[in-house]
């Protein structure tokens, strides 16, 4: 089987006028399997968002290659849907309209009935049927993020990229959305890359956790395999040995090996 998504020797430099380039990320090699859920965790400024932007194609790497399905990534495309931290819903379109816009563009071959069915399927998937005709300004932050997830999944991407998707939400809403995401993942089976700074979130959601060292010149420090069966239950996991092991391993990486002073 050929590789699904691979990052080869990625480096990202930002030119600073009159000074040497700022090297944000360097020497990143990573292979991601199909249907795998990956978390990338690290302190702020470790270049994890930069890494995600390079995979999405919204930002280009300085050197190295990113290859998806045997094709090198050049620029953004609907095969790599992004769930943005601030949801980025278009405020003048309803929940339905936001998803419809994406499906219409990516699947122009659908007839009106198929289009409606597909949009409604994804509205239902995130339990937003009652809010389907509401504008983003009328629904809560958690609901907006669910629309963002539905919109991203509705275009049938090869990879779902999530940039701190629940970072702006309170912890109860966040837990609720994590449950949503796990349940959806059980049904649709997608490759997911999640940027996070939340240790529990990383362990709960992922098959593997990529730990980034601190920037500048950040790179992959350790990769942790999370050997927990699915579906996972957050309450039961609290006493699970594997869960505790994973948690401790990440905590020790973040706060002992690569502790970061507050600036």
């Amino acid at each position: 089987m050929s590789k699904f998504l691979s990052l080869e020797n990625i480096e990202k430099r930002f030119p600073i006028p009159g000074k040497e380039d700022y090297i944000a990320v360097t020497d990143v090699d990573l292979e991601i399997k199909k249907n795998e859920i990956i978390s990338i965790i690290g302190h702020s400024g470790c270049g994890k968002s930069t890494l995600l932007n390079m995979i999405s194609g919204l930002d280009g790497q300085t050197t190295g290659k990113i290859i998806l399905n045997d094709k090198e990534i050049k620029g953004p495309g609907p095969d790599r849907a992004v769930v943005f931290q601030n949801h980025s819903l278009l405020p003048w379109l309803t929940v339905y309209g936001n998803i419809e816009m994406a499906v219409k563009k990516v699947m122009p071959e659908l007839d009106p009935k198929e289009l409606r069915e597909r949009v409604e399927k994804f509205v239902s998937m995130v339990n937003l049927d009652p809010a389907k005709d509401k504008l983003p300004g009328e629904i809560s932050g958690g609901m907006k993020q669910r629309v963002g997830i539905a919109r991203a999944l509705s275009i049938q991407p090869d990879v779902l990229l999530m940039d701190e998707p629940f970072g702006a939400l309170d912890s109860l809403t966040r837990a609720n959305l994590q449950e949503h995401l796990m349940r959806i993942q059980q049904n649709v089976q997608n490759t997911v890359i999640i940027i996070t700074h939340d240790v529990d979130e990383a362990v709960l959601l992922s098959d593997r956790v990529i730990m980034m060292t601190n920037g500048p010149e950040a790179t992959i420090g350790e990769i942790l395999e999370v050997n927990l069966k699915r579906p996972r239950n957050r309450v039961e996991l609290q006493h699970d040995e594997e869960y505790i092991r994973c948690r401790e391993s990440i905590l020790s990486f973040l706060y002992e090996k690569f502790a970061k002073e507050d600036e």
Binding site: S56, G57, L58, G75, P76, G77, P78, R80, A81, V82, F84, N86, S88, L90, P91, W92, M101, A102, K105, V106, K134, L135, G137, E138, I155
Partner: protein
């Protein structure tokens, strides 16, 4: 709530009477200046100071005596036609210009100095030049309005385009929108409220300009009508004209405001 309503009626009435007081004071000082009472008679008809029974300007606004003598309604209509002519032309040229300048840094660098220089030029400065070019009253008035009211449309449209958030453009990039799809689906919805602000300013300017333009070009129109009143020593009509211009301008602004609100997504669906 109720006392709020009473205040909204009583307080303007107090100011109204204060204005009448000042007006009467001026009328007593300046010779031949029309009093509020004589102006009222000139407007709505009755017996004037000379004891003649006259028909008011506003009691019969629709009369047509001949080509050069028409009721005040027709004067206002003629002015409105010119205003809309120039205004629509300004929209047709100004909105695409604004979109272009908003989207392209190079276009902004190229045009901005000229917009800044031409924007503050008074319509009265354009008038002789345009009259010389067109040799026609209507074309001169319309083109004067066009050239003075286009700037707020260009500037506000460009501002609206520039206020499109990077996040929305990222969504467009991921979905691989074509440039035209970007304009229609992302840029215009964000820019429309700004465009309407520009249109509202622009229509206000157009209505200011028309009175001045018609005074110089003559013929028909509320501006000419006021000037004609001055030449015929009908000083009451000047004041009636001023009040009419103000009321029509206010109505135009309200209509524009309502249309702007209708297209502004931020003012829709708020609970």
């Amino acid at each position: 709530m109720k006392s709020e309503l009473i205040k909204k009626i009583v307080l303007p009435l107090l100011v109204f009477f204060a204005i009448l007081g000042v007006w009467s004071g001026i009328a007593n000082t300046v010779e031949e200046f029309p009093t509020p009472a004589s102006t009222y008679v000139a407007a709505f008809g009755g017996v004037n100071a000379d004891g003649d029974d006259i028909v008011g300007v506003l009691s019969d606004p629709f009369y047509i005596e001949n080509q050069d003598d028409k009721g005040v309604f027709w004067q206002i209509l003629a002015s409105l036609e010119r205003v809309f002519g120039g205004f629509v032309l300004a929209l047709i040229v100004g909105i695409p210009m604004g979109l272009w300048i908003g989207m392209s840094k190079n276009a902004q660098y190229a045009f901005d100095p000229f917009i800044q220089i031409l924007k503050p030029v008074s319509p009265l400065a354009w008038l002789p030049l345009l009259l010389f070019i067109f040799q026609d009253i209507n074309m001169t008035a319309i083109s004067t309005i066009f050239i003075t009211s286009i700037w707020p449309i260009i500037i506000n449209t460009a501002l609206g385009v520039r206020s499109v958030s990077e996040d929305y453009m990222n969504v467009a990039k991921v979905l691989r929108f074509t440039p035209l799809e970007k304009v229609i689906q992302i840029i215009l919805p964000v820019a429309v409220p700004y465009i309407f602000t520009g249109m509202r300013l622009s229509l206000g300017i157009a209505w200011l300009v028309i009175v001045a333009a018609e005074m110089l070009t003559g013929g028909i129109g509320i501006g000419f009508w006021i000037w004609d009143a001055y030449n015929n020593l009908n000083y009451q009509d000047i004041i009636i004209g001023i009040i009419l211009v103000g009321i029509v301008g206010w109505i135009l602004d309200m209509i524009m405001g309502k249309i702007a609100d209708y297209f502004d997504y931020t003012k829709k669906g708020r609970a």
